[in-house]
Chain length 134, copies 2
């Protein structure tokens, strides 16, 4: 069985669900999961064409060039798609080492205990009030 056909083109299933697909963002070197964001077809094409991560901002309802404001852009080193073509992984080099808008390396800085409580496991790398000039 030919499973490794180099000519196959990826066709993400943007018709599924809300038209937005989740993109898992992983640090290329450490494998740490930095964030999850959503892509529409435009941001997917921009990401592939430019090599810099572009998402769809659900809160602002606009194309979001990650790092456009903070300078903390993400250089995409590798992309993976899943079996159902409805989720992708961007393996990135994170400028400034912090992906989270709160100043942490990862958005996933809350470790959840079995009793439903949590602790914050990371230290802030930057002060969001300075970076975003609120």
């Amino acid at each position: 069985m030919m499973e490794n056909n180099h000519q196959d083109r990826i066709e993400l299933d943007f018709k599924k669900g809300t038209g937005l697909l989740p993109a898992i963002v992983q640090d290329y070197e450490s494998g740490k999961v930095l964030m999850l964001a959503y892509i529409n077809e435009e941001s997917w094409k921009k990401s592939i064409q430019t090599g810099e991560a572009h998402y769809w901002s659900r809160s602002r309802k606009e194309l979001w060039h990650k790092g456009g404001t903070s300078g903390h852009t993400q250089k995409i080193i590798e992309i993976f798609a899943d079996c159902d073509n409805d989720t992708v992984i961007f393996k990135v080099e994170q400028t400034g080492k912090a992906a989270c808008h709160l100043g942490y390396e990862s958005c996933f800085h809350k470790k959840v205990n079995r009793d439903g409580t949590f602790i914050i496991e990371e230290k802030k790398i930057f002060d969001p009030e300075k970076v975003y000039k609120k």
Copy 2:
């Protein structure tokens, strides 16, 4: 500022979007991302209570005990929640070493090239026709 309050309880935002939140599933030891699935409140509680991954199957529209059919259950070792409380990571020990229903270790076995083509990077670990007795 007290950021590390052990008494804080996690309250996931199940009211957001479709009521389903994405769960990124990562191999506890290697950090490899195995799959992405969705949780509703019931599957979240079941996962925490039992220590085995439970999701919401969007195709079957039912609570999904991962591995219930294949035997490839996921033992949850660590859980992380993100800054917005709308995405979680389950770090798991994957029984049988394969999380994908197609027989691969990871659902993310397709590496996407810059020209939009892809190659399959993994070998199948099991034969899904035997495991699922289709």
